[in-house]
């Protein structure tokens, strides 16, 4: 477990592009079935959520297992933002066929798309404030304040997923539950209880 820490972050990037490589491969060889557009769009969206979930695990792992994977958090977050961006691109180009007027109307009018757009904006802001230079310029306090928005973005991304369906699919509900647990670790009350935070702060 501790050896993982010594892996270069390039490994995360390499593994992180694997879902994209597989998706391109499946598209080219015709593995995507009857409606490739939907498959591409959905797989990109799901992959974004998985990386978002992974990035939320880093701090609890540090606190609980005392394994420091913090250096992997940035690539995980950037991968989540990239897949979310590709997801939007697939929606605009493949699903909507670049019908600009309907796209804009839909984003304004459809809560699940408005939420999706909100999440994407947050993720892009976080990505843009993730370079060493920007982090240094912002200083740790402001940087942390900005990046706390991920606690909103992550569950909203899953909410966006749930809203797109006619029924309540099990997988996003399970992911939402996992996120709730991960986010609960950030609550001062629970942190105090677990002894992660001084009792009188």
């Amino acid at each position: 477990m501790h050896r993982i820490r010594r892996l270069p972050t390039g490994v995360v990037w390499a593994l992180g592009t694997l879902p994209l490589v597989l998706l391109v491969w499946d598209t080219l060889v015709g593995n995507l079935g009857v409606d490739p557009v939907r498959d591409i769009e959905h797989r990109l969206g799901r992959t974004a959520v998985y990386f978002l979930l992974a990035s939320l695990c880093i701090t609890p792992i540090l606190r609980m297992a005392r394994v420091n994977l913090v250096k992997f958090r940035r690539p995980l977050g950037l991968l989540a933002a990239s897949y979310a961006g590709l997801h939007l691109l697939s929606w605009a180009v493949l699903d909507m066929g670049l019908l600009w007027s309907q796209m804009l109307k839909d984003i304004a009018k459809r809560p699940y798309l408005t939420i999706g757009m909100g999440v994407l904006v947050i993720l892009l802001v976080l990505a843009a404030t993730s370079s060493n230079a920007v982090i240094r310029k912002l200083g740790p306090v402001r940087w942390r304040a900005i990046h706390r928005w991920v606690y909103l973005a992550a569950p909203l991304a899953v909410f966006h997923w749930l809203l797109a369906y006619k029924i309540w699919p099990g997988k996003p509900l399970a992911i939402l539950a996992a996120m709730a647990v991960l986010l609960a670790f950030r609550l001062p009350l629970l942190q105090r209880h677990l002894g992660w935070r001084a009792r009188s702060a």
Binding site: T27, G33, V34, D35, P36, V37, R38, I40, V93, L94, D95, M96, G97, L98, L99, Q102, K105, D106, K109, R110, P111, Y112, L163, A164, Y165, K166, I167, W168, P169
Partner: protein, 289 residues
């Protein structure tokens, strides 16, 4: 047998022609559209299904419906009819009465296909059992058999699936009970052995694997309407001007159009307005969606 596009006239419907292509009023004047209206492949039609009894994924029905026993099969017809009873598929759709109907199918999820069904007009079945004068609606029920329908073993929905039509909709010559497609018996994932097809309504109205048909004087409660009345109405007519609360119905994606196929405009009553609009004369379709 396929008729040419210029043959597709409303009168053809009432002449009980053996086959007619999806009636698209504008297509007769624009033959170029005809190519775009080629039926989807058998492969596409049988591997992209919403049949929630077998799972919520589009390929779940193809994966899981193989276990469904469709022979023997009985359809219980009752309520306000002269000859109630249990009917076999052959009773309702005898081989020599089956005709081909190439219809567009527009799903409420904003995708569409073109499907060459085999079937008989529902009106012929209703006439056979004798509709009594008090009947105003027709209620349908899908098979409830948790042993063979995995999703029914969970409480994910209120099974069995129920649908309904107004009597005049049910008697309309476009409304059929389908028993096959592409000249073959109905594949299980498409609603074997007998299912409804109402081409001017969203796909969920076209209930699959029917075991019960009841003539009533009251509007039946349908599954989706009961679950989310704000999103799914009793009528569920294809209507590009009335959006689903969570997504637009103005356009649709034709399955099989390819990666860069884009979208096409959704037509009022799915393009069957010439034939069915008069059923709804005077109704506010934004209210009765």
């Amino acid at each position: 047998m396929k008729l040419s596009w210029s043959d597709v006239t409303p009168e053809a419907l009432f002449l009980n022609r053996r086959a007619f292509i999806a009636g698209l009023g504008v297509a007769a004047a624009a033959p170029a559209l005809a190519a775009a209206e080629e039926p989807n492949s058998f492969e596409q039609i049988t591997n992209y299904n919403n049949f929630y009894e077998f799972g919520f994924g589009k390929t779940d029905p193809a994966d899981n419906a193989g276990a469904l026993t469709t022979d023997p099969w009985a359809v219980e017809i009752g309520g306000l009819v002269d000859r109630p009873g249990s009917y076999s598929v052959a009773d309702l759709a005898p081989g020599n009465a089956v005709e081909e109907r190439i219809y567009r199918l527009r799903c409420v999820e904003a995708w569409s296909m073109v499907i060459p069904w085999l079937g008989v007009p529902l009106a012929s079945v209703l006439n056979k059992v004798g509709v009594q004068s008090g009947a105003k609606f027709v209620a349908f029920e899908t098979l409830y058999r948790p042993d063979e329908m995995p999703e029914q073993r969970r409480n994910s929905m209120d099974w069995p699936y129920r649908e309904g039509l107004r009597l005049d909709e049910a008697m309309h010559p476009l409304t059929i009970l389908a028993t096959g497609l592409y000249g073959k018996p109905m594949p299980n994932q498409n609603g074997a052995p007998i299912r409804l097809v109402v081409p001017w309504k969203y796909g969920f109205k076209s209930i699959k694997s029917i075991v019960k048909i009841t003539l009533t004087d009251r509007q039946p409660v349908t599954t989706w309407q009961a679950m989310q009345p704000r999103e799914y109405g009793f009528y569920a007519n294809v209507n590009p001007t009335v959006d689903h609360p969570r997504w637009s119905q103005a356009t649709e994606r034709r399955i099989g159009a390819g990666l860069l196929g884009g979208r096409q405009e959704t037509l009022m009553f799915n393009g069957y307005g010439d034939q069915v609009a008069q059923l709804y004369a005077g109704m506010d379709l934004a209210r009765d969606y």
